[in-house]
Symmetry: C3
Subunit: 283 residues, 3 copies
């Protein structure tokens, strides 16, 4: 491909407007995540969305704007800032309504249909890259040299819904304390953390490639792994590196050495015992 054409495409992607298509894809996936998280009742009983629309609406909104809310809380900004954007709230509410109450459940069923699902997930990953980048830029203005804070806020804005999960479940009356995003971080969270670090390094001039290329690279990285997760079932390409890292630094090496030493000692003891027995025999 012609490099100039490629750069033009990258620049176009960088300047994409998120509203309406990308935001709608995001809201749709979040509302479907809430819906799929509700345990199926016994057949015949009234389902959750019919009995508790308010609770369902709030938990859907919390996931839709979760990253912003958590980031605002950590940055000491008002939590209700996302609610000020009437257009976003109305769009999210419309999506929530269609996902949960559409005639014959058609919206939900169509969105679950593989080709549509791929498109929605693709759009959503573009929106994710956009959110991470703008979170990094925004945080860098407030805390210029706090690299940890910048990566953290970038991660939360890009994958905030995972961290909101426990609280969002509580609003729906469920409470599963034994699972959270920090105990088993999803691949999305890790990928967003990598992307936030990349954007940070770019801002610090450690990456000299033109900005559209970096941004487009992150978008492709997100979309590629999301689609391969859906199509090929590859859920965590980082897992091998992580396991290696844990095996070396997170105690694995020392545990192995301790086992080795314990064995050696046991063997030495055995040797000594054998030897003493032989000595006794020799006596």
């Amino acid at each position: 491909m012609d490099p100039q054409t490629f750069l033009d495409i990258a620049t176009t992607v960088t300047k994409l407007k998120m509203y309406p298509y990308f935001d709608i894809a995001h809201f749709m996936l979040m509302c479907m995540a809430v819906r799929d998280d509700i345990p199926q009742g016994t057949p015949g009983s009234p389902i959750f969305s019919r009995k508790h629309p308010l609770s369902l609406w709030l938990s859907s909104m919390l996931l839709c704007f979760g990253g912003g809310i958590i980031a605002n809380m950590l940055l000491g900004e008002p939590l209700i800032v996302p609610l000020k954007d009437h257009r976003a709230i109305l769009t999210a509410t419309a999506v929530w309504y269609l996902v949960n109450y559409s005639p014959f459940d058609i919206v939900y069923k169509v969105a679950k249909f593989l080709p549509f699902k791929l498109v929605i997930c693709g759009l959503k990953e573009v929106q994710r890259a956009h959110k991470v980048y703008h979170a990094v830029v925004h945080t860098m203005k407030i805390y210029p040299s706090s690299y940890l804070v910048i990566v953290l806020i970038g991660t939360l804005k890009g994958a905030g819904s995972g961290f909101m999960k426990n609280f969002e479940r509580l609003i729906r009356g469920f409470w599963i304390p034994g699972s959270n995003e920090l105990l088993q971080p999803s691949f999305t969270t890790k990928a967003v953390m990598v992307a936030a670090t990349v954007f940070l390094l770019e801002k610090l001039n450690y990456i000299t490639a033109p900005h559209p290329l970096v941004y487009f690279g992150v978008v492709i990285f997100f979309v590629y792994f999301k689609l391969s997760a859906i199509l090929l079932g590859i859920h965590d390409p980082f897992a091998p590196f992580e396991n290696l890292f844990c095996a070396i630094f997170m105690g694995g090496m020392w545990d192995a050495m301790r086992r080795a030493v314990t064995k050696t000692e046991t063997k030495e003891e055995t040797d000594v015992t054998t030897k003493s027995k032989e000595d006794k025999k020799n006596d």
Copy 2:
């Protein structure tokens, strides 16, 4: 009644000072709510208020100032602002002490006695209207055109204790994740939401009645439904409208249509089967 006299009464109500009587009524009901929420232990065992006064005090204070605390959190203001008002804290503490530790439990018993209960609840509803109105005015100054935020903050200031419940229970060592204000919103919450909307519409000049009349109307609405809840056991006058709304918009209509269509299809299939059988006979 003479309209001028009525307007004079309304103006007086609008300008009522909340401290001390109305605030004390509010604190009293909150402390009693905390006390009533403690499960009764086995007879003979030391009761909660004797064993954990600190935890009981904090959870009572959280309910007394709950609306303000939640609203401050959402608005990004310091959570401890309610604690700065020493007079309010001392009054609430005195009320908490009297409700839980009065000699022969006389304060609690008197407050539970129907005529006194009616007076206390009446006073409290006047204070509620005052809080909702001032929350709407205050939020409108910070976020002039964010109508959703204004109604939300108004609702939280007026009925914040319901949303504080889960957290307040946690402080007392109880945890009931399956129930919260959003799963089953109480009538109070809904009424406060309506009142906040009315005050908002008034501020936006959609309601042209003089302010004292609007304010007095809300007070009467609150007091009337609270007293009718206590005396007549009418717990939710909104329920019929809600059920109707849910039946039409929250999936009820489509569910009915789906059932109808499913039946029709089944019938058609039966018809077709019957017809084909007849065809076969004709052959």
Copy 3:
């Protein structure tokens, strides 16, 4: 001891730099608290620190910086402020790594060995006094006359980890709603509350002793009771006073009086019954 020498020592203690030794002692105790709080799995199973390093790291950091985070939340300041201090975070991370993953677990075992434990706890109590004092001074600047807020923030900065416990456990996937710092406040919390009050009284000129003496007194008070808790097993020297206070003011007295009255009434009734019987006999 020569008073001048004593005052010189006190002044030196007042001006001690917290970093690195005192901070490291604090981080070490916090990381060990998190580690000790993890229930021991069945032998042979992979232990928590090997399986969930991220969750363990975050919960250790939350305890290390817990006081600051809670205080910031209440004061409406950004929660991530402690994360801005890269040096502190890196030190805490190094301590966390050594406590959990040191070869042959040597750091943890040495720190648990009594003489080292005494030194670490001693250093940590000096750091606690420092934190309480600076919290009181800082809060006094923002809210000059809100005495309750000042004592509360001082207490939270000095003993914040206790209040962070429930949330920190949730991050590790545990949830024990029936216990918290407010239901059974530890001696540390109470001692810190006393120290915050002492510093407040000093700032308000109710204590006329020179500042280094007051500060040194608080340090000695903290260290003395901590060491006596470890060496002599005295866990709560305030308990007798508290029990007395509760017995008098928290319902104990009235409960006793009610029992007495009930008995008297029963006795009187018996008397009356006996008398009426005697009357009948006389008739």
